[in-house]
């Protein structure tokens, strides 16, 4: 897998490339054929893993729980089973006090299953905070253009840390939804540069919503994860007060800013063109991190 581009890989390839060789043990694997009754009723093809691969593995010899969403299957969206697997995994992580890493690729709630997916996301958020209360690290990796959107975008912000690549996108409403709502003049979803500067990893890193910006390779993602496995970010009165100040400042500073380049410049990027071409840590080096 050496040199493989992370965003080109499938969920199972990503897990194989991140985990120590042969260490991944899948839970509720495809042979168990646990599939969505909703999709079956609607005559839509089901998947034996319901779009989520979960299990435990080792990274650098350290045992972790690991999940990867399958973006090719209904956009990685969360239905009842997919969501229950996710909740269960974070609960197992809390029980065993092992870090939990989620490779995200999801547009949010699976509409075909209605409110069940929405509740599952809320339950998973509760399970993530169970881990955090125990100082069990929770890490979200967002590295493809399917990204982390809708309820999964919100869920990713509940984890201790977010690792992104420049391909990753993090948000709630996607560009097409916003274009429909605000009009093409306000947001042209075909303007790829604008889309990436709105929701992409580089902007999220500059603003401090992504904790690490890494190259688009499995090695870089794995190193990024390994660095965070021994850390956690406590939810304390001091930490939420500081975050409140940060977010107030950000809103005041950029709340009326239409041009993402202005945000980049204001966050220390001097040469927009060079920064657009730079990858991961090279980009980070070009800009000083916004606090």
């Amino acid at each position: 897998m050496s040199g493989a581009l992370f965003h080109e890989q499938t969920a199972r390839q990503r897990i194989a490339a991140l985990a120590d060789a042969g260490s991944f043990v899948e839970l509720l694997p495809p042979p168990e054929r646990i599939t969505s009754p909703y999709l079956a009723q609607l005559g839509i093809p089901v998947s034996f893993d319901d779009g989520l691969v979960i299990g435990h593995a080792k990274i650098g010899g350290k045992k972790i729980y690991l999940a990867a969403q399958v973006g090719q299957f209904v956009g990685g969206a969360v239905g009842e089973i997919h969501g229950a697997k996710l909740t269960g995994l974070f609960k197992a992580a809390a029980r065993d006090k092992l870090p939990c890493v989620l490779i995200i690729e999801s547009g949010g709630v699976r509409l075909h299953e209605g409110s069940a997916g929405e509740i599952a996301i809320a339950e998973t958020m509760r399970a993530i905070f169970e881990c955090r209360a125990l100082k069990v690290p929770t890490i979200a990796v967002i590295a493809t253009d399917i990204g982390a959107y809708g309820g999964i975008g919100i869920l990713s912000t509940c984890c201790d840390f977010r690792i992104m690549t420049e391909h990753g996108r993090l948000g709630i409403s996607g560009p097409i939804v916003i274009e429909k709502w605000m009009g093409k003049k306000a947001y042209d979803s075909a303007n790829r540069a604008l889309v990436w500067k709105t929701s992409g990893g580089k902007t999220k890193y500059l603003l401090g919503d992504a904790d690490a910006l890494v190259h688009d390779t499995s090695e870089a993602v794995r190193d990024g994860i390994a660095k965070l496995l021994a850390k956690s970010s406590a939810v304390s009165l001091a930490s939420v007060k500081a975050r409140q100040k940060d977010l107030e400042k950000r809103l005041k500073r950029f709340g009326a800013t239409e041009d993402p380049d202005a945000v980049w410049k204001s966050m220390g990027v001097r040469n927009i063109e060079a920064a657009s071409l730079a990858s991961g840590p090279e980009f980070a080096a070009l800009a000083k991190r916004g606090k």
């Binding site: 509720l28 609607l42 979960i54 729980y65 009842e80 089973i81 229950a84 909740t87 269960g88 995994l89 609960k91 197992a92 709630v109 509409l111 075909h112 299953e113 209605g114 409110s115 069940a116 929405e118 509740i119 599952a120 339950e123 958020m125 509760r126 905070f129 209360a133 309820g151 975008g153 919100i154 990713s156 912000t157 993090l170 948000g171 709630i172 409403s173 916003i178 709502w181 605000m182 947001y187 500067k197 709105t198 902007t203 603003l207 919503d209 939810v235 304390s236 009165l237 939420v240 975050r243 409140q244 977010l247 107030e248 950000r250 809103l251 709340g255 800013t257 239409e258 993402p260 945000v263």
Partner: protein, 246 residues
């Protein structure tokens, strides 16, 4: 004369119904609700939305600020969260600023409150849909809904528009799959709502009871299975826990 059924109660009327005369201690500013009131003679902190407003970065910060103030100055005071919001308005600048992170911050503040002994109770009073419900209301210890509230992911018409599945098909399926149906009652069948309060219920007494009986354990998967609306979630979760313990 207007038909009473077609008229939604005003935000103030909803507050008065839930908190009686103590509702005067609650401020409404730009459809964001913050303040303190009394329930069953005891003080509660109140946060929420009204008028079906959109919740944006600023609204999330104002709600979070009130939760932080409550933790700081009113230790262990129960927090009542009211939800009447159409969700987040799709907006490019809000996305660029990281709306998801603003919501995540609000959730972190509520988690801190829970850990510090504040009971968290949600009452869905109007629209409780999508991201607006996920970013605080669904994070409570126990969640209740007025029968008149619109609770759920989205109405079948909207689901049909996005998935391109005919509404008639979804409508028919929703008879056996309450997850597809929109409303407080089907949401309760899934375990997402503990109890639906009717127009004739004494909601002040119900709220006092809710606070008194609440526990921080998430019981929704158990409820969903017991009530038959969400048959799989609990067993799948248990299977993950069992297989991972081997």
């Amino acid at each position: 004369m207007k038909k009473p059924t077609s008229k939604k109660p005003s935000a103030r009327a909803v507050l008065a119904r839930l908190f009686g005369p103590s509702a005067k201690g609650i401020a409404i500013e730009k459809s964001v609700v913050t303040g303190y009131a009394t329930v069953g003679g005891a003080k509660v902190c109140v946060i929420g939305t009204c008028d079906g407003t959109y919740i944006d970065n600023e609204a999330a910060l104002r709600l979070a600020a009130h939760v932080i103030q409550c933790i700081d100055r009113q230790p262990k005071t129960p927090i009542v969260m009211l939800v009447d919001s159409a969700g987040q308005e799709p907006n490019r600048v809000a996305e660029m600023l990281g709306l998801a992170s603003y919501f995540g911050h609000l959730l972190s503040c509520l988690e801190l409150a829970r850990r510090k002994g504040h009971t968290l109770i949600t009452v869905a009073t109007g629209q409780a849909v999508g991201g607006a419900f996920l970013c605080y209301g669904m994070f409570a210890d126990r969640i209740y809904a007025l029968a008149s509230a619109s609770v759920g992911l989205m109405p079948i018409s909207a689901m049909s528009a996005v998935t391109k599945i005919p509404a008639s098909v979804l409508q028919k399926l929703s008879k056996t799959m309450p997850s597809l149906e929109f409303g407080a009652e089907p949401f309760a069948l899934l375990g997402g709502v503990e109890e639906v309060w009717s127009a004739t219920d004494d909601v002040q007494a119900k709220l006092a009871q809710a606070i008194a009986t609440s526990t921080p354990e998430d019981n929704r998967a158990e409820l969903g299975k017991k009530r038959g609306g969400r048959k799989l979630a609990l067993d799948i979760r248990k299977k993950v826990l069992a297989e991972s313990a081997r």
